[in-house]
Amino acid sequence: MTSLEQSSGPLPMIRFNGITKTYDGGRPAVDDLSMDIDRGRITVFVGPSGCGKTTSLRMINRMVEPTSGTILLDGQDVALQKAAELRRSMGYVMQSSGLMPHRSVIDNIATVPRLNGVPRAEARARATELLDVVGLASELGRRYPGQLSGGQQQRVGVARALAADPPVLLMDEPFSAVDPVVRAELQEELLRLQRDLAKTIVFVTHDIDEATILGDKVAVFAVGGRLAQFAAPEEILRAPVDDFVAGFVGRDRGFRHLSFQQGDHVTVHPIETIEVDQLADPTVSVRSAWTLLVDADGRPHGWVPQATRGSIATQADAVPGGSLYTRGDTLRRALDAALSSPSGLGVAVDDDGRAIGVVRAAEVFELIERARLDRGRADHNTAV
């Protein structure tokens, strides 16, 4: 208790406290790992094969016992909890779907609730709902796992992990065995699910792209079970702490890297604005093709095209705007704002959300292109 209260911030969902794991006789598979895993977020363990990701994950639910150190789940030492019960409080998804071949899809999904003593009918009803949640037709519920495609099996694996509504999900390379198209689809759906469910997810992968797509935070493991860097994905891509991380992240990753590049030097142009109150006032005229509608605080609320000025009398009549670009955001955000805006002008706002001007798509493109060329030249130089 005491040591936890001394730490700053909210209680982490999972805390690794000086964890070392040495399988008999060998060198450590995980070496003195200490890290906090945020509640309700996706934390990704990424690194080359054999660097201790699976071992670290499995120590959380005690499928592997650490050689030394403690793991706290919600402040409680997992070593003091009954292994079987602890595991039922966490969903687990693995690479081979691990579905029971002798049980129907529905009964596979209902596994953990059944272990917890939920009556069969109730567990099956819930399982049927979950089929829908993971995007499978309910007719598939009566099939056996062997009758499903690889991608469908992984969806069932996710549904099974969610069945008892555990606060924590452990996922060990869940999408590595499916083809790239299905993988992208599954990643997207995981993010969609996570928006609704806000589980604490620990996700293992060897794929840095997957890690940056999914992770709120990414832990890069190095050979020998060392935690090399633990940070937001943008930071890992932009500022790898050492040669190992830089090498793992890869030099030939121009576009993604750029998309995280700060957009500080994007030019913000002035824009004509009209306040909501002035809409009904016929004496206020507009000169530009597009006028930005703002409230009394200067926050953007859509666009008024010149041609329709007379017929737009309230905020609801205005043409809805696109995404916003806050100064300092990445180039990708700037581009998004410009491309999603009906006027072709991306609305730039300050930190308080007040409109400060607009960015132009063509100019953002140019910056991206220039940065890509710079990067290519730098790579060429190091290669020589």
């Binding site: 079987a84 595991r87 779907s97 691990g98 579905l99 029971m100 071949p101 002798h102 037709a137 009758q147």
Partner: protein
Amino acid sequence: MDWVQGIVEYIPANAALLRELTGNHLVQSILPIVFGVLIAVPLAQIARLNQPAGAVMLTASSLLYTIPSLAMFVFLPLVLGTSILSMVNVVVALTIYAVALLMRSTVDALNSIDDGVRQAAVAMGYTPLRRFLTVDLPLSVPVLIAGVRVISVTNISMVSVGALIGVPSLGRLFTDGLTRNYPEQIAVGILVTLLLALVLDLLLVLLERGLTPWTRATPARTARAAALEARTVAA
């Protein structure tokens, strides 16, 4: 032709005797299968969990299998204190053979279960006993029943050996037929024994089908499955 007629006439004339001997024969064949499974399965699991002990147990069971059945039938009453004519001797002897044979095939069956499935069961939070009973065992059924089918056929023929020392079974039709030089009786004995073996085997096949519906669910995707999948992807 007389021969065939002799057989056909023998059956109704000796219906009561045939019924009694068939009953005896079935009891002595089936009980060892049931006991054999009940004993071999837990022993197999113990042998798997405890490697050195397991190796000793498997070797010992192979050795037991080499003891001739007649020797066993004669020897067991001395150990068990049963009458030499008791069916118990045959049941115990055949149970020992069944355990010896089933233990090895059960160990193989349990070892052949996909490791991913086992890991997943652990991760889901199964207790070891529950996992054994509801995951490992059902998945071992095909191999287990293959072993049981071998034992069932072997038992049907081995039970007859007991008749040599006077334990009642269909074997008596052979011993009796031989001393009385009554070939029709021997022929009926062979026919009924054959029939029993076939029926028992058929029942075991049906049992396996009932216990393993998933093995016949075709992985090859039907048009319906493909349509369902297309819908899933579109959704």
